[in-house]
Structure formats: structure tokens, C-alpha cells
């Protein structure tokens, strides 16, 4: 119990004093995860929508693969990315190891299947509803895909959130490719892991509380956005 009360007071003092290190860690966490979500959405939305709409050979296999990849273990993704970007790896010359870019790559690989698979499900449902009308309009498939993504936009917010939640909370991939280097690649989850192993439980807990508050407020914001969209009834 002692730990909890110390942790809370420490967390709030860190926040209210706008501790520079803390701000840096939060900033890096957010920028890495936001970037990863951005790239994953750029790939995952069209990939999911195309898998839902366009009939091509291997479509079912792709759908099953995307579903299966939703459960990718972060450490394994970290290891694979590590192998590719480490000095001896094929992309070693790019000097990406232990950089925020490496972390973004790892997180993108981790959450793109999540975003694509969930998008496929949502777009498929909407497509069932729109199918006859869109075919009656004789639209090219590219426009059908774009129409469906646009009209499902409020449901897709939840997909983005699921991806973001996974990215910001995962530790395995970023610690392997980022290395948890202070002032360079230290994010909230790796910092928590480090402080816990050092035995500084209250600092770890304080960081954990902040992480929870962040996740909660981002979810709340998205929830409000979605609900207001429902009220203005693009239902």
C-alpha cells in the first residue's frame, strides 16, 4: 500500500512540476506510437478495405493471415526487425538500430495487421449494405473502396484506437530495437520496465499511472467524437 500512495504523490508531483525527463519520455512515447499508427493506417485501411471488397485470388488466405497476425508477439517482431536492421542485417547500412525510427518500424509492423483486419471486418459489413447500390452506380472498384472507407470513418476511429492502444502499451518490440537509451529511445513502457527491475517501484508506478491516464483520455476523446458523430447521425 505504501508503494501506491508514494506512487500517486510522486506521479502528481512529476506531472505538476512538468518534470523535463518525464515530458521527454511521454513526448517520445506519443510521437513513436502516433507515427506508427499513422503508417499503419496508411497501409492498413486500404489493405483491409481492398481485402473486404475486391475479389482476387488469395483473398481468403490474406484475410486469415491478417487475423492471425493480430496476435503477433511484440518481442518476436522486435527480434525480426532487429535482425533486419542490425549491422549484419540487410538494412544494417541505414544505421537504424537503437533509434526512434526503428521503434516506429517495429510498432508499425505490430499494429498494421490489427488495423487491416479490423478495417476489413467493418468495411465488409458496410459493403454488404451498400453493395447493390454501388454496383448499380457502376463505380470503379477504387471509388467503391474510398467511398466505404469514408462512410465507415466513425467506426474506423475504434480501429485506430485499438492500434494505438497496442502500440503505446507494448514494451517487447521497442526495448529490443530501441534499447531503452536515456534521452534517445526511452519511452514510458521501457522506462517502467527499467525502474521496476532497478527496484524503484514508486517511479515505475507513477509512470504507469500516467500511461493509464493518457490511454484513458485518448479513448475518452475518441468516444466523445464517435458519439457526437452518432448524434449528428451518420448512422
Amino acid at each position: 500500500m505504501q508503494d501506491f500512495s508514494t506512487a500517486f504523490s510522486l506521479a502528481f508531483s512529476l506531472i505538476f512540476n512538468a518534470d523535463a525527463d518525464l515530458i521527454e519520455i511521454i513526448g517520445l512515447s506519443l510521437s513513436v506510437s502516433f507515427s506508427a499508427v499513422f503508417f499503419s493506417v496508411a497501409v492498413g485501411f486500404p489493405l483491409g478495405a481492398v481485402t473486404a471488397v475486391v475479389r482476387f485470388p488469395g483473398r481468403q488466405v490474406l484475410a486469415v493471415t491478417l487475423n492471425a497476425l493480430m496476435g503477433l508477439p511484440p518481442v518476436v517482431v522486435g527480434l525480426l526487425v532487429y535482425l533486419v536492421i542490425s549491422r549484419a542485417g540487410p538494412l544494417g547500412w541505414m544505421n537504424l538500430l537503437y533509434s526512434p525510427t526503428a521503434m516506429i518500424i517495429a510498432q508499425s509492423i505490430l499494429i498494421t495487421p490489427i488495423i487491416a483486419a479490423l478495417t476489413r471486418q467493418i468495411i465488409e459489413d458496410l459493403h454488404k449494405e451498400y453493395d447493390e447500390q454501388l454496383r448499380s452506380f457502376c463505380l470503379p472498384e477504387s471509388r467503391i473502396v474510398m467511398t466505404l472507407i469514408w462512410d465507415a470513418r466513425y467506426s474506423l476511429i475504434t480501429v485506430v484506437l485499438a492500434g494505438f492502444g497496442r502500440a503505446i502499451a507494448e514494451v517487447g518490440a521497442v526495448i529490443v530495437v530501441g534499447g531503452n537509451i536515456d534521452h534517445l529511445t526511452r519511452v514510458m513502457t521501457t522506462a517502467i520496465a527499467l525502474e521496476t527491475s532497478k527496484g524503484d517501484l514508486s517511479l515505475a508506478l507513477a509512470l504507469g499511472i500516467i500511461l493509464l491516464i493518457l490511454a484513458l483520455s485518448i479513448n475518452a476523446a475518441a468516444y466523445i467524437l464517435r458519439n457526437s458523430a452518432h448524434r449528428s447521425a451518420h448512422t
Binding site: 447493390e132 448499380s136 465507415a152
Partner: protein, 269 residues
């Protein structure tokens, strides 16, 4: 002097323009009629839902496809529009088999309107603009507003389409279909779940379109509606086209037993 040059230019340019206009009008595609349906059948899981339908429709105006539920009416118009695959050569519009070019000259209104999850005006814009990437031109906005005025939905233009009442939704669906300037308009029971006032609005709109030369195929099970609108009636029963005749003849002297029974209000199975 300037006036002289202007006049001279006009005299030279005018004939060229005339020729261009004539050329363009001669490039106008031929009408989609006659529609010839030959030996059209449709099976789902070995169950015959449409059985060897043969028909020729050459008249403009409104062709009503009449019949009870399950007669195959909806299936028939979907096949005419190419929403479902039909065997080659079974459906010909003006001697051409159904392809994308022909389908683009048609529009279909469904029994339950399928509106996009957007505002009323965005639903109209969707069919008016060829691409979502192009900015909206003032021309497009003008066209859109004209369509909305005609449909009596201008005041609701900013509302989400799916929050309109059932009748307004169907009016919007019809306005959107007409905004594509179809030569053939197919309607699948468009007023089946609407009240008399809305049905009247929809029918008035259809009559207007018909008078402008749009060929209409209207699926209905409502005998009174068929009497009001039909120029010719295609009566379907049990997946077969039982009777096809001009409206007067059909209603006054139906030749088949199922049609007689249907018109007398007896229950048909």
C-alpha cells in the same frame, strides 16, 4: 472596325460550331429500346426462380411488372439492370448485350432506399461528381440544388440522409437515381412501405420523368398503382411471365387464370 472583325469572325466560326453540334448529336447513342428478353431463367442452388421468360418491350412510358410476393419480379429487374449475372444473349437492350455502357444509362431504385451515411446534399453530389478528388464546382452545386429543389428536399439538405423519414428517404433515393440522367429507370416496389401522400409524390415524380422520355420499369404488387401508372403490364407468377399486354387490355380482359385471380383479389399461391 472592331465590330466588323467581330462580325466576320462570328460568320466564320458559326458554321463550324453548327457542324460540330450536328456531329455531336449524331454521336448520341441510340435508344436502349427495344428490350428483348429471350429464354431468361435464373437458378439458385438448383431451384428455378425465373423460368424461361420471353418478352419484348418496345414502348416508351411505364412498364409495370406486377405480381405477388415471390413471383420473381425483383429478381427480374435486377437481371435487367445487370446486378445479377444472366446468361449471354438472354437480355438485349437495342440488340446489344448488357454491358457497363448500357448499365450506366440505367438507374435502379430499391424498395428499401440505400442512402450513404452522409448529408442529403452529399448523397446527390456523390452521383453528380465523377471523382471525389475533384473540388466541387459551382456548376455541380447548382445542379445539386436544382435536384434538391425538384425533390422538395432543399430545406433538409444539410441533414444526415439516414435521419430523414421513410418517405423522404425514398424521395431522395429517387432524386439521386434521376440525377444520373438515366434513359431507363427501374424501380423495385419503391412505395411498398409508404403512405398515400408520399406514394402520390413519388408517382408524380415518375410521371414527370416519363413525360421527359425516361423509360420506366416499375415493380409493384399494388394493383391500384399499376392501374394508375401502367402503359403496359408484365404479370408474373411463380417465376414465370404469365401475361404481357397493354394496360387496358390487361385490366379489362386478363387472359390467364392467375392474372384474373390476382385482379379479383383472390389469394394466389
Amino acid at each position: 472596325m472592331q465590330l466588323l472583325i467581330f462580325c466576320a469572325t462570328v460568320r466564320i466560326v458559326q458554321p463550324i460550331l453548327d457542324i460540330m453540334i450536328k456531329f455531336k448529336s449524331s454521336m448520341q447513342p441510340l435508344s436502349l429500346l427495344p428490350l428483348v428478353v429471350q429464354n431468361l431463367s435464373y437458378k439458385v442452388n438448383e431451384k428455378l426462380l425465373l423460368d424461361n421468360i420471353n418478352a419484348t418491350v418496345n414502348s416508351t412510358g411505364v412498364s409495370v411488372v406486377l405480381g405477388a410476393n415471390g413471383a420473381g419480379k425483383s429478381l427480374f429487374v435486377r437481371l435487367l439492370h445487370g446486378l445479377l449475372p444472366s446468361e449471354q444473349q438472354t437480355i438485349k437492350w437495342n440488340d446489344q448485350v448488357l454491358d457497363l455502357v448500357i448499365r450506366k444509362r440505367q438507374a435502379l431504385v430499391f424498395q428499401k432506399p440505400i442512402l450513404l451515411k452522409r448529408s442529403v446534399s452529399a448523397n446527390i453530389e456523390f452521383v453528380l461528381s465523377k471523382s471525389i478528388l475533384k473540388p466541387r464546382t459551382s456548376d455541380l452545386i447548382q445542379q445539386r440544388d436544382a435536384v434538391l429543389h425538384e425533390a422538395g428536399l432543399f430545406d433538409q439538405r444539410n441533414q444526415p440522409a439516414r435521419l430523414l423519414s421513410g418517405g423522404e428517404q425514398q424521395r431522395l433515393a429517387l432524386a439521386r437515381a434521376l440525377a444520373t440522367k438515366p434513359e431507363v429507370l427501374l424501380l423495385d416496389e419503391p412505395t411498398a412501405s409508404l403512405d398515400a401522400a408520399t406514394t402520390f409524390q413519388i408517382e408524380t415524380r415518375l410521371e414527370l420523368a416519363r413525360d421527359k422520355g425516361v423509360k420506366i420499369f416499375l415493380v409493384t404488387h399494388d394493383i391500384a398503382q399499376a392501374r394508375r401508372l401502367a402503359d403496359d403490364v408484365m404479370f408474373m407468377h411463380g417465376g414465370r411471365l404469365i401475361e404481357h399486354s397493354v394496360s387496358n387490355e390487361f385490366f379489362n380482359h386478363p387472359s390467364s387464370e392467375p392474372a384474373k385471380a390476382y385482379l379479383e383479389g383472390r389469394l394466389l399461391f
